[in-house]
Subunit: 337 residues, 2 copies
């Protein structure tokens, strides 16, 4: 009896109706008469029928899944966004396929592949360093960028990156710092550039000297934060405050300088960006800029679903508010000197 899985045919037979009626009962119950509806639903329960998504997708000319392209699946920053995406995609009956752009050889090629393969009803891009060329493809599915965005008028969900940098600089200035540096993300990345721009503008706007040798390049990773620490320790003329383009770098930096005997925030103040979960548990707890990552994921998914349903290829962009979180890693500059 339960040998084979029931098809819509079996249900139709059991209920004494046509397959069309079964299908209608399940998708638009309102158009079928109450009596038949009940008969069908009974038959469904009886046979344990589940619609075959593959067949349904084929007929409806959709795939039922959206692909998320991200630079590194193992990065906790992204997993939070994934959680947000999943929370709206799953209820909407869309599967979420995850593809790691770093794992393969050529990220741009991977993007092109997914744009042309017709394997997804939509794409979410979390990697801002992808080249937008492939987006010219005519029949491509809708695409939404989250966090990072590219030149074209691609719908995106982003945060006020520049303002975040300005908040950090403002905080340092107010505490009395005059020697402020910055550790950036990888050059070319939109987030990096945006935050760097915000940093520069804020520095001139508060009237502080902008020293290029106090702008260190990282790549958002903890390792690159630790590397920045070695550079900072080796400087003869050090900034007393550092703004990091990511919390991860701040964490790597903090651990490294602490091991070198530096006390934060007594000898050096630092501020991160993102508010990843761990930083509140550090000692000192990290002052940072909060990005509501789950929220970003949710909005991106909503935008994408809207585009998929309306069949548009463009859409609005959304800017999500950030928040300055004052903790204990930034204090007044050292008095000596």
């Amino acid at each position: 009896m339960d040998r084979k899985i029931a098809t819509i045919q079996d249900v139709a037979k059991a209920a004494g109706v046509s397959t069309a009626t079964v299908s209608r009962t399940l998708s638009k119950p309102s158009v079928v008469a109450a009596a038949t509806r009940e008969a069908v639903l009974n038959a469904v329960a009886e046979t344990g029928y589940r619609v075959n998504t593959t067949a349904s997708n084929l007929r409806r000319q959709r795939t039922g899944s959206v692909i998320v392209l991200l630079p590194n699946i193992a990065n906790p920053f992204f997993s939070q966004i994934l959680a947000g995406l999943a929370s709206v995609l799953t209820p909407a009956q869309y599967g979420m396929l995850i593809a790691d752009t770093q794992s393969g050889p050529d990220p741009d090629q991977l993007l092109a592949h997914y744009l042309t393969s017709g394997q997804a009803d939509g794409l979410v891009l979390l990697d801002g360093s992808l080249s937008p060329d492939a987006l010219e493809h005519p029949g491509r599915p809708p695409v939404v960028m989250a966090c990072e965005w590219m030149g074209r008028d691609l719908p995106s969900v982003r945060v006020e990156n520049g303002r975040g940098a300005a908040m950090a600089v403002g905080h340092f200035a107010q505490l009395g710092h005059r020697a402020i540096g910055h550790v950036t993300g990888p050059r070319g990345n939109v987030l990096t550039e945006e935050r760097l721009r915000g940093f520069r503008e804020a520095m001139v706007s508060v009237g502080l000297p902008l020293r290029e040798d106090w702008i260190l390049e990282g790549d958002f990773s903890m390792d690159s934060g630790a590397a920045a620490a070695r550079v900072w320790l080796a400087m003869k003329d050090r900034p007393t405050a550092l703004f990091f383009s990511s919390d991860e770098m701040a964490v790597g930096f903090l651990g490294a300088v602490q091991r070198a005997g530096i006390h934060v925030p007594r000898e050096l103040s630092i501020v991160g960006f993102d508010n990843i979960e761990i930083v509140q548990h550090l000692s000192p707890a990290l002052t940072t800029i909060r990005q509501p990552r789950t929220q970003i994921g949710i909005r991106a998914a909503e935008l994408l679903l809207d585009m998929i349903e309306t069949g548009t290829r463009t859409g609005p962009s959304d800017v999500i508010e950030i928040e300055f979180i004052r903790r204990d890693s930034a204090g007044p500059p050292p008095v000596s000197r």
Copy 2:
């Protein structure tokens, strides 16, 4: 011309062959004559044809995706495993669907849903607290457990949890500690129980007193580590060494006690479990037990693919080796007293 996406019919027409030949050229090139093969491949390139995965899957009675069930997608511990899974699933042309068991109302129901819905060719379970009842379903797809495992003889990939605990205890004992405590994961979780058992056995085997009030319950999270710190700080008679069932808890604990002015490892030694990326960047760098998480993901995916291809529902289990990583968070016990 490029208006609509090309189907296999278009390719067949362009190459002057039947659709059957096109299909064969693409799946089993060896059975078609060299000349025709070339003609078909040219036609493919010309039309920009991509096989429609949905149609292919329907015909082949498969779904082309495996579902990964995990307790919390935002947990960095799991994302590393996901990366491992993806690295073998993607090349094998399987999509990886991720489902969060914590986000919905009833985890067990979610598992049952995926087991019966026929939406996946296989399942990977990363949540050991799921009840195995649903696995009785007759036509269910193959299932592999990673990290955690359940009573039944389900194929699984796991690590030597008990031995990990023993390594930590051994290390403490060798350093001269006599008062050793343990912070566990949530009760009922297989990992928790296994490590706790290992801890207990190791304690008696090195001949140290096993004090139940020095066994604190956590839930693997940083917050629960911080909570454990408050308990430890409030104790009149404290253990001088603590073994944590997860790095996350160790991190939460470390930050909390450091803020209370405790020096690790001078006043207290700690050892974690997992070796998550961040712990090497802390100050002090955390001594811990490394689980090769990417490796676990890879093996689980390999096992699952094998089961899918051979059509078996059982398979071998695999035990992955762990490694003790000595860093700076464990030292000799304080001399005072």
